[in-house]
Amino acid sequence: MSGLPATPASSVPVLALGDVLLVTLQGELHDGTAEQLQDHITHRIAHHPVPVGGVVIDISGVEIVDSFLGRILAEIAANARLLATRTVVAGMRPAVAITLVELGLTLPGLVTALDVDRALSLLGRAPSAAAPAHPEGDA
């Protein structure tokens, strides 16, 4: 049970790192849990003490993304956009990406990143944001 009163309970923890919300999905996610999570994230964005700068959903621990979870991810992003927040889905596995594409779910509205680090730098929040500018000093 999280301490915030107006928040629906969710079995997936949503961590606040500064003004960024980090959600890490692990293993198999039931449809009900996913819907709860969607609710939960939307509430957290709305009731966060400071304006939320971005939501990062780490799905590197997820082996199977079906059409339902794909839709939920897209809806979380759409909800966040309505609340003036960007969402980045990070760490999708190659097998998952192939399955989604074969299912015809290319999730066009979704911003993606290779891992959480890249997602944070995409949101302009990471300490390593400036790192890859000059990989091989050649100028």
Binding site: P94, I98, V101, T106, T112, A133, P135, E136, D138
Partner: protein, 298 residues
Amino acid sequence: MQVADHDTAEEVAKELGGFLERRREQLAQRWADAPLFRTVFTVSRDEAVEACKAVVDALADVARSNRLEDVQAPGFGTVRDQLGRMAASRTQAGFSSSQIAGEVAGLREPALALLRTEFEESSAEHSEACLLALTVLMGTLRLVVMETSVSAGEELIARQRLQLLEVATPVIKLWEGIVAVPLIGTLDSARSQVVMESLLEAIVDQRARYAILDITGVPTVDSLVAQHLMKTVAAARLMGAECIVSGIRPAIAQTIVHLGIDLGSIITRAGLADALAYALTEQGIVVSQGPAQGGSPR
């Protein structure tokens, strides 16, 4: 009547097996001169005779087990390899399957002649039955040869297909965070699957932000190939990498437009160099000429 027939059939088969065993040497000598064996075992005649003996032994074994029409009879197991090699060498010499089958059929005549002399004094009915049994057996042998040669060909094709898949889809790291796949040859479903998998693996391994699909070596782009490309691009995007399709020749550009394929959501560049330049610029990397006498950009 039926029962009696069946009984004699088994006896005939047994007798045929005995005949093959008795006349093993003679038969092998005669077969060694047949074109099938003579042309395969060119080194020495003894080698051909040995091979013939092995085949005769196998046939005798099959006849004794009364499985004259059974291609799967265990007796054939020992010579299957050898027959396959012979068929393969005939195929390499430019012979068609039916010609090889004809050569195998040619082995029947010497055997029949031997059998006739063997059963000269026995009743006409009996020798007739034996001749028939031998004919059936030789037909089965022909089938075995054809089967082994065909399956050998299929194995070869399967192996080469696998090699082609492995060889034809390298993923190259062009720069820090930039990988490229030069696609060569026709892109079908199986190959595009391999391309997609190896590209996504490379994106993870190299932590790539940009993936370049170079289709300079793809002869034609139809709607199916375009669909495969779009799938690959979409999968790479889901992994957080941006895909650039390069090497679209003028003719292919026209075909794509004629077919009404919408590649609007994909970044395209004329050449691999342009794609690399785009990816470098997007990452804020500037390539300039060195201070020395106009060295080429690396």
